[in-house]
Symmetry: C2
Subunit: 245 residues, 2 copies
């Protein structure tokens, strides 16, 4: 029995998210069906965590056990023949027998892409959130610095979410502008539900001049969802990387 | 009667090209149908030239005459409400009465995108041509320099094409690598049918070591289609800009 690790890219537009759902096609289901075709085994794969419908991934991690004789390193190419164009296994290897993509994860990196142009573009319609007008990038950068470190992020969590420990550590955060694209990169040891999309929405409020960078410590300290910015749409969010020791 | 100029972005994946065709949906047809909805007029628009099925545009130009009272500058936003996600009018203005997007054009800029990675990616599947393995970028850059200037490009034209004057001038050409993307930019006063895709294919032969940069002058001088490289697929080609005086 081999334990295999995958790194997966996907365009989440057409999926109900990573996790198998009763109503709707998930990325996990498509990969499990492809594994059945490739190996003849009914394999359950474990992702590093869920991604919502419309969220994309440059580096989702997953692991599964198999008795297949296919060498771990060629699993990626072999499986891609059975996968649709919008899902690609970009790396596969054999992992330690106790490696588990979710329980072994030490942290994650996400990016949120804002397309800052007055007129829509076919090239970003499903892959970024479009914001017209002028944004104050320096304000967004200064605001981002306040998120560094360990905070109680309960105000940056979807209201319906029920998690008791809402303290998380942001290990890296940056805001970069390249042409019409503003990329917000956030790394941390863990994230609450919708946390990155709410941080991005709060930084956007700063870019629009509705919040000042100096407001951020109080917004975080308040712990109130309605003090933070809006939850930006799923289509701008990318799971970039999952960290393991 | 106003003469209006459009700059148009489109993802060409789902279209049979720019020009109206009896079989298949073209970008031109979709825009003309949207103009009918917006203005009530049956308007014929003139593109700067055709693009093939699957070819994309960041800056196709088009012109048309209308009696509509809609101010020229707001035509773009008004029309975008009637256009699908993969076509966007990014700029509109009133042009001189004798301006014609095709006959007034002085030149064009194209780019060809190569995605240089062993494993396919959902994010480039329809928007670049994927080449695995290692490419010699410096060889591609040195080869590109030989295309500068005025040459008889009859070897860089689709065999079925029937054009008597095959002399064209390349005013700018560059090869740039950014991460996994190799971008070939070519500007010129005019292009033969498939010329950019054959130049890109010839530069790729140099990147693969099958041609040397020093071979290029003889390849051009021979005037033979089979001395040049292959015609790369449409999905990597972008019409970037149309030049007017």
């Amino acid at each position: 029995m081999k334990n295999i690790k995958f790194i997966i890219e996907y365009d989440g537009t057409e999926y109900c998210g990573w996790q198998i759902q009763p109503n709707g096609l998930s990325v996990q289901q498509v990969i499990e069906e492809a594994l059945l075709k490739l190996t003849g085994e009914e394999i359950k794969i474990h992702g590093s965590g869920r991604t919502d419908s419309g969220v994309h991934a440059y580096g989702q991690a997953a692991s599964f056990k198999t008795q297949s004789s296919i060498p771990a390193e060629v699993f990626s190419k072999a499986l891609n023949h059975h996968l649709p164009w919008d899902i690609s296994i970009i790396f596969s290897c054999e992992a330690d027998k106790d490696f588990h993509a979710r329980f072994s994860a030490k942290g994650k990196k996400y990016s949120y892409e804002i397309f800052n142009r007055d007129i829509r573009s076919p090239f970003y319609e499903t892959r970024a959130f479009r914001v017209p007008g002028t944004l104050d990038i320096n304000s967004m950068k200064r605001a981002a610095e306040h998120f560094y470190g360990t905070h109680d992020f309960r105000g940056f969590m979807a209201v319906k979410s029920q998690v008791s420990d809402t303290v998380r550590t942001i290990t890296d955060i940056s805001v970069e502008k390249n042409g019409d694209i503003i990329e917000i990169n956030v790394s941390g040891n863990g994230f609450l539900y919708n946390m990155v999309r709410i941080i991005a929405g709060t930084l956007l409020e700063c870019g629009l001049g509705r919040l000042a960078p100096s407001d951020i410590p109080n917004v975080i300290f308040s712990g109130k969802r309605d003090e933070a910015g809006p939850t930006l749409p799923a289509r701008g969010l990318y799971l970039v990387n999952v960290f393991y020791s």
